[in-house]
């Protein structure tokens, strides 16, 4: 009940005209960015982060959060209409969405995607409302050794879950930690890897790095790529009345949405999993559980609903560890974390008690923002169809301009532009040779906190490492980390032996 009281208190903040305006702006930007293939929520948030410099923390996070979940709505558009997912979580949406378009029912697919996104997102926000504080209460029991263990678990899970090769994921993670060590060392006050550059004494800034790795590298990749064929969209007019699905189809979608909403949120909470994995898992789960499971992939609204409900739920779920423990579960959440730090907030268990207005204002705004996103997505269908047709040769130079100004704006220094360019080249080669970039980003964000907590762990224990095997929570977390690293190898070997037999 206390959570409801706090939620209503938060509504007072969320419904302030300026915050509603920010939620609408964020929602529109998120949907636009999500609809355009190649630009995801991560880049969208990173490029728009400088706009929040003049805002208060609550309005700023409301806008960025709206971009994040608005992106999940937008990603479905190009997946359904062109078979090209705007963002990776929409990959599974294309499996049924595009065949529905081929059957002459693109409106029905978009309507289902929007409604499923809304209900999935609402389930996710509802769970976040209750779980956020519970997770923060657990977090309050965490000392420095537990924090180190939970962050090591986050880093290992993301490097093992993303990409095809865990080894490459680990290399990317280590690279992220190395980059984070540039600057003054907080424990001894000595400069590390600054190469005599005064600007680097404060370390590499996250925003220019993200803009480079995810934005500039994308421009490089798009440069020689063939333009997306949008000819099939020419002359296509979508009207809302053609989009409504039948009562029978709506009834069939409801259980899938409910299942995907709950499972998607839980997957979103787990570090490293995020919206893409949740969409994949929920699609497979619903394919097995649904009465029409065999028809999944042939173009049924239920398939679209399963994937879209889960990715929106996961986006909401990702806020629970971010706010309660200060652990981002995905690249976009890492940018949001850097935003929180930039506005002078310290994410972690104390945030819910010390910055209650901020937390509940954000959670309440997500309810409001979700409704607004649904309205925008429904009303913007005709415009978005046109937007998807904008060629990358027009978008690329504009993104380059944004990359330069956005990187500079992070701290008004030219060094940021060098970092952005270097990040772009690193990101390009990492993508080309299948090194996942998200683990690098997460390691970059988390390693200063790991180092600080590791330092404290030894300090409080007189230089002994026994804290790591005498505290139950730490032991459990470290054992889970080891299991996560060892299990895939064992499964691989067992499968290999079975094949031989």
């Amino acid at each position: 009940m206390e959570n409801f009281a706090l939620l209503f208190q938060g509504m007072g903040i969320a419904l302030q005209p300026y915050n509603i305006l920010m939620a609408i702006f964020g929602g529109i930007m998120g949907i636009l960015v999500g609809a355009m293939p190649g630009i995801g929520s991560l880049l969208g948030c990173a490029l728009l982060l400088p706009l929040t410099f003049k805002m208060n923390a609550t309005s700023a996070i409301i806008m960025l959060a709206a971009i994040y979940y608005g992106n999940m709505y937008g990603g479905a558009f190009s997946a359904i209409l062109l078979n090209i997912p705007g963002d990776s979580p929409a990959i599974m949406t294309a499996l049924d969405g595009y065949p529905l378009t081929k059957k002459g029912r693109p409106g029905a697919a978009l309507f289902t995607a929007n409604m499923a996104s809304f209900f999935g997102g609402t389930i996710g926000i509802l769970i976040l409302t209750f779980l956020g504080t519970a997770l923060a209460d657990i977090g309050l029991m965490f000392g420095p050794s537990e924090m180190v263990a939970v962050m090591v678990l986050s880093l290992s899970s993301i490097s093992y879950l993303l990409g095809d090769s865990p080894r490459k994921g680990m290399i990317a993670t280590m690279l992220g930690i190395m980059l984070a060590t540039v600057g003054i060392d907080n424990t001894t006050g000595l400069p590390r890897y600054t190469f005599g550059n005064i600007s680097l004494l404060s370390g590499i800034q996250l925003v220019p790095l993200v803009i480079g790795v995810f934005g500039f590298s994308q421009v490089m990749q798009l440069f020689s790529q063939k333009e997306t064929d949008t000819s099939e969209l020419k002359g296509k007019r979508l009207r809302l009345k053609d989009a409504i699905i039948t009562k029978k189809e709506a009834k069939e979608c409801a259980p899938s949405i409910a299942r995907s909403g709950v499972v998607g949120t839980i997957v979103g909470i787990l570090p490293g999993s995020g919206a893409t994995i949740s969409a994949f898992l929920c699609y497979i789960m619903n394919k097995k559980l649904s009465k029409r499971g065999e028809e999944f992939g042939t173009g049924i609204p239920e398939g679209v609903a399963a994937s879209e409900a889960s990715n929106n739920a996961a986006a909401a779920g990702a806020f629970a560890p971010l706010l309660a423990l200060g652990i981002p579960g995905s690249g976009t959440a890492a940018v949001l974390l850097s935003g929180l730090m930039m506005w002078g907030l310290t994410p972690g268990p104390q945030l819910f008690t010390e910055q209650s207005d901020f937390c509940w204002g954000l959670i309440s705004s997500m309810y409001v923002g979700n409704v607004l996103c649904l309205l925008i997505a429904m009303l913007a269908i005709p415009m978005l169809v046109k937007l998807i047709s904008v060629p990358s040769k027009l978008i690329s130079p504009v993104v380059v301009v944004l990359c330069f100004i956005g990187a500079f704006a992070a701290s008004n220094e030219m060094t940021n532009i060098y970092v952005m360019l270097l990040g772009g080249v690193i990101g390009y080669f990492m993508n080309k040779y299948e090194y996942p970039t998200s683990p690098m980003l997460l390691a970059f964000v988390l390693s200063p906190t790991i180092e600080k907590n590791l330092y404290r762990s030894f300090q409080v224990n007189g230089g002994s490492a026994s804290l790591f095997w005498t505290k139950p929570i730490t032991i459990v977390l470290l054992l889970v980390t080891i299991a996560l690293m060892v299990a895939p190898q064992i499964v691989k070997r067992v499968k290999g032996r079975q094949k031989k037999v």
Binding site: K393, L394, P397, V400, I405, N412, Y428
Partner: protein, 151 residues
């Protein structure tokens, strides 16, 4: 090319590790010091990269032809944005950020994307006016003015 990328990463890892071990304290009093984390991270990365390199060496025959093919594998057209980026850096030093980006946007649209002068100019003016309004007028960002700022 993957071999070269891994070798570059190995070089960076080794530099990081050697610098940490030789110039930074790893342990001070009863707790870790600044050199420990970079030493461990880069050490693990070097180890993993050695395994990665061994895999590549197992799968490929490394000779002159391999390196020639590696360079052919890269689409050097993709590097044009980097070249443009370096040009922008020089431009910023000379004529400032806003003017450089305006020129770059127009030239890219006209010459690289192949739009007409009119369309390129309209897009450039719209985008740059919007950015000027947001970053210069609203956020009051002190955008670099280059040598022009001295006049």
């Amino acid at each position: 090319m993957v071999l070269i990328v891994n070798l570059v990463l190995l070089g960076v890892g080794l530099y990081w590790c050697i610098t940490a071990v030789t110039t930074m304290p790893l342990w001070q009093g009863i707790s870790l010091a600044g050199g420990l984390l970079p030493a461990v991270a880069s050490g693990v990365m070097v180890l993993l990269l050695i395994f990665e390199l061994l895999d590549i060496l197992k799968k490929n025959k490394i000779n002159k032809e391999y390196f020639v093919n590696s360079f052919k594998e890269v689409n050097w057209q993709d590097m044009i944005p980097v070249a443009v980026g370096l040009g922008i850096l020089v431009g910023i030093k000379l004529i400032g950020m806003l003017l450089t980006l305006t020129l770059m946007l127009f030239c890219w649209l006209k010459f690289l994307s192949g739009y007409s002068v009119k369309k390129s100019a309209v897009v450039t003016i719209c985008v740059m006016l919007f950015l000027y309004g947001v970053f210069k007028l609203w956020l009051k960002l002190p955008l670099p003015q280059g040598l022009l700022g001295l006049i």
